[in-house]
């Protein structure tokens, strides 16, 4: 795990997944910013997703990487269903 040496699962699998999701979240947030500037809820949810992903990529903790990816996917699903 982070701080105790090299975590292969985090570095080789979870970091790339988080980066893929960060690409999506960034585009999603700018889209929401352009078309829902007066609705703070979607923007706030997306801002939290980006902050979580950034924190996860900075710390490289497995649980945070998984949590941040899962959180954004939940926000994305909510956007589609809502």
């Amino acid at each position: 795990m982070a701080g105790k040496g090299f975590d292969r699962i985090a570095e080789h699998y979870l970091v790339p997944t988080a980066l893929v999701v960060l690409n999506m979240a960034a585009v999603h947030a700018l889209f929401a910013h352009a078309y829902q500037p007066h609705e703070p809820a979607p923007l706030a949810l997306l801002a939290v997703a980006i902050a979580l992903l950034a924190a996860a990529l900075a710390t490289k903790r497995r649980y945070l990487l998984v949590l941040s990816v899962a959180y954004y996917l939940a926000v994305l699903a909510a956007a589609f269903l809502g």
Partner: protein, 444 residues
């Protein structure tokens, strides 16, 4: 970069590395050119708006009714060019912007010309004009969409999209083997340029992978669409064939009250923001309004409303939100490719991420050259080759732009076709020669 008999070979990823290496090497220049032209192409509407405003001094005064007025301007143009074949109006997207009348004019026995006329929508008069084909906006689009090669430029761009998808997917597959115990985004401290380039290649490649994959797949579809449509009998889903009710000349001469038409459109399709208006000239007696629905991710002007010219009642409504998923999937490609769905900030993000594929093609080429230099103990400086190729690409882009803007589109297109096809023949010839030489060497 990876040991030939090392870990990658043992776990079966050597094949993916070979694919990444050769596809990247042979299509790197194409990907680099498309990356640069694409990063500029996302801003075409904004660039063209600035050119209209500052080069042509084409500005609109405020309309007294708030509704753009262009009826008198169109009447004057249709009288001035009685041999026009068709015309359409693009409404301004921003206050102060002009409406653009796009008119195809074909004099008897002459060659068709596509002209654009700028209309002040407050004063309802023409304030400027240009030959559309020789415009910068057309150059930027045609260079990215077909490399100015009318023969198979569009298909080449589609193949570039497939190549980018292949290098993105194989890059992801081999990522772990290349990073080994290196953490993202660490750049190793070394004077070895190959290692530094390799680190940047891996770090930026994985950081923009999702974006590049989307661009690659949508670009492959858009580029290869003519072939795919023919092979798999794919039709554009939005189809409307109006009944012919009048003589063509009577239809052309029919007066249109555009205020009434726009108000009727607002009632029939309230969410539509009309951007492009067309009046039939073939006897159908229709007015077609194409436009966008804010907050949706579809290509420009795909939603459509057709009104009758005689009584302005709706004849056909195409609201993409209510169409099957297949229609929506078909029309999402272009918006996803050009980032035309989230304002200027999204376009800026698209431009930055889009440039990563250009950097990856240059850094990949640098890794190849530095590795070859080390392997063959060469004295030459690989940067010379990299700078030479980059400058030649820029020279091609700038040269074609100059010819297109100051001489003409068709001359620029002819030069581009000669250059691109000669390069293509050279590349295929070289690849064939290299393959034969390798086979013969291995045979000995």
């Amino acid at each position: 970069m990876v040991p030939r008999s090392g870990k990658a070979a043992r776990n079966g990823k050597q094949w993916f590395w070979q694919l990444h290496h050769w596809v990247g090497l042979y299509t790197g220049i194409l990907i680099g050119v498309l990356s640069l032209t694409g990063a500029v192409a996302v801003f075409i509407p904004e660039i063209d708006g600035l050119i209209q405003r500052h080069h042509y001094d084409a500005l609109s005064s405020a309309s007294p009714t708030g509704i753009p007025r262009f009826g008198k301007a169109i009447d004057s143009l249709t009288r001035r060019y009685p041999d026009h074949r068709s015309w359409s109006v693009r409404l301004p997207e921003h206050p102060g912007g002009v409406a653009v009348v796009d008119m195809t004019i074909r004099p008897e026995g002459g060659k068709a010309r596509r002209m654009e006329f700028f209309v002040d929508t407050g004063a309802d008069r023409v304030v400027g004009q240009r030959d559309w084909q020789n415009s910068l906006a057309n150059y930027l689009r045609q260079m990215h969409v077909r490399l100015y090669d009318g023969i198979w430029g569009r298909q080449l761009v589609g193949i570039g999209g497939i190549a980018l998808a292949v290098v993105a997917i194989t890059g992801l597959i081999i990522y772990g083997n290349f990073m080994k115990k290196q953490a993202w985004p660490k750049i190793r401290k070394t004077v070895d340029m190959r290692i530094r380039m390799a680190d940047w290649h891996k770090i930026l490649g994985i950081a923009a992978l999702a974006f590049n994959l989307v661009i690659a797949l949508t670009g492959a579809w858009l580029g290869l669409q003519p072939w795919l449509a023919r092979w798999f009998d794919i039709q554009a889903p939005r189809t409307y064939k109006p009944e012919i009710r009048f003589e063509a000349e009577a239809d052309k001469a029919m007066a249109i009250d555009w205020d009434t038409a726009l108000q009727a459109a607002r009632q029939a399709f309230p969410d539509l923001r009309p951007r492009q208006l067309l009046a039939s000239t073939n006897g159908a007696g229709t007015i077609t309004l194409r436009g966008n629905i804010p907050g949706t991710i579809y290509e420009r002007d795909v939603n459509m409303l057709v009104l009758s010219k005689t009584d302005y009642r709706p004849l056909f409504v195409y609201d993409l939100r209510e169409q099957p998923a297949g229609h929506q999937f078909y029309y999402i490609q272009e918006a996803l490719h050009f980032g035309d769905f989230g304002g200027l900030l999204l376009k800026a993000l698209y431009a930055v991420l889009g440039l990563t594929s250009g950097f990856l093609s240059i850094s990949g080429f640098a890794i190849f050259l530095f590795r070859r230099k080390k392997k063959k103990r060469q004295e030459s400086n690989p940067w010379k080759a990299i700078v030479a190729y980059t400058l030649l690409c820029l020279l091609f882009l700038v040269g074609i732009a100059m010819v297109s803007l100051f001489v003409g589109y068709s001359q620029a297109s002819t030069i581009a076709e000669i250059v691109i096809n000669a390069l293509l023949v050279g590349l295929i010839g070289y690849a064939g020669y290299a393959a034969i030489r390798k086979t013969v060497t291995h045979g000995r």
